[in-house]
Amino acid sequence: MTEKTNLARRNFLSKLPVAAATATIAPGVVLQSTSANAEPRSEAVTSKVRWGMLVNANKCADDCSACVDACDKENGMDIHSMPEGADAENWDQQKPRWIRTVKLKDIQTGHVSKLPMMCQHCEHPPCEDVCPTGASFRRADGVVLVDRHTCIGCRYCMMACPYKARSFIHENVDIKPTLAPRGKGCVESCTFCVHRLDNGQTTTACQDACANEGHHAIVFGDLNDPQSKVAKALKKYPSQQVRDDLKLNPGVYYSGI
């Protein structure tokens, strides 16, 4: 009963900050503020929204790791120290990494392009297909997540992922981040900063960091909204999905590769 009476108010409240934060600064240019004080989500996510990303590899600068560093900071990888007695070389390969930079070289022309690679948030995720417990799942708004309450750590998803996007936590974790809980024996990967999205923000940590560096190589937003920055950019520039031959329809697009 109380739930019912509160819904109208909650609906009103959850829309309020968004409406207040959207301002038209010039014809056709809409500024959407990412207020951290927006209300946390009170309604279930729906498929009306599909979060996605466009990465412009031409703008991705050499020797820049701003997106990787920002992701590490946002999701507590920077406070995740090497377990006692672990081999340093193994640790470097096995520590959790949600986003990494990849260099591709065209053998014919010798052209090298650099791009950030992370979970591609597929429409038909192979990780979800192979998961024996249903822990890997695709949320209604297109974010592919691991429910670590049901993950048994079998790592089938890591083998199934064509993008090598997932990490496994091998040892006990000393400091646990509040926004990205982490523990021994579970798989994890990029969440499109889902805690931000659920709290009314519309940017990811990597996107913000890239913009702060002045590169603006990452555009994030709602693929289903024709007015969103990412949808407009996708319409304007040629782009492709990595391994589109697999027909997974990833939510991350790349241009300039």
Partner: protein, 125 residues
């Protein structure tokens, strides 16, 4: 005569135990220490309901949060920790799963394992 006296003594001890045990079991962990909860008027539900059903509430909420993204709630584990973590002399939060603290105190008493904190933070953010 001797036998009946023994029986009555035993009965008296039993009655005493029956009174004393619930009193120990009903120890009010919330009122000890200096957490926010000691100053709060009430928890998110009446205390008897919290004692019996807090795990159901947290488990239900975790599914809603992970799968549906609902984070506006009274029943989050984050909320429990925010309210029930005590502060030590140095002004730092004491983990809720440290010996004698709110979560572990009761869980140790009833010998129920506590798995939340192998992944979740034990002090407020």
């Amino acid at each position: 005569m001797l036998k009946s006296c023994y029986t009555s003594k035993l009965a008296a001890v039993l009655v005493l135990l029956m009174i004393a045990l619930p009193a120990i079991a009903g120890k009010n962990w919330r009122s000890e220490g200096n957490s926010k909860a000691t100053k709060a008027e009430a928890c998110v539900a009446p205390v008897p309901e919290m004692r019996r059903n807090h795990m159901e509430m947290i488990q239900h909420q975790r599914d809603l949060t992970v799968h549906q993204g609902i984070r506006k709630t009274d029943n989050s584990l984050h909320g429990c920790i925010d309210c029930h973590a005590n502060i030590d002399d140095a002004g730092k939060h004491i983990p809720v799963n440290a010996p004698g603290q709110f979560c572990s105190g009761c869980h140790n008493y009833v010998a129920a394992s506590l798995d939340c904190f192998s992944c979740h933070a034990t002090v407020p953010k």
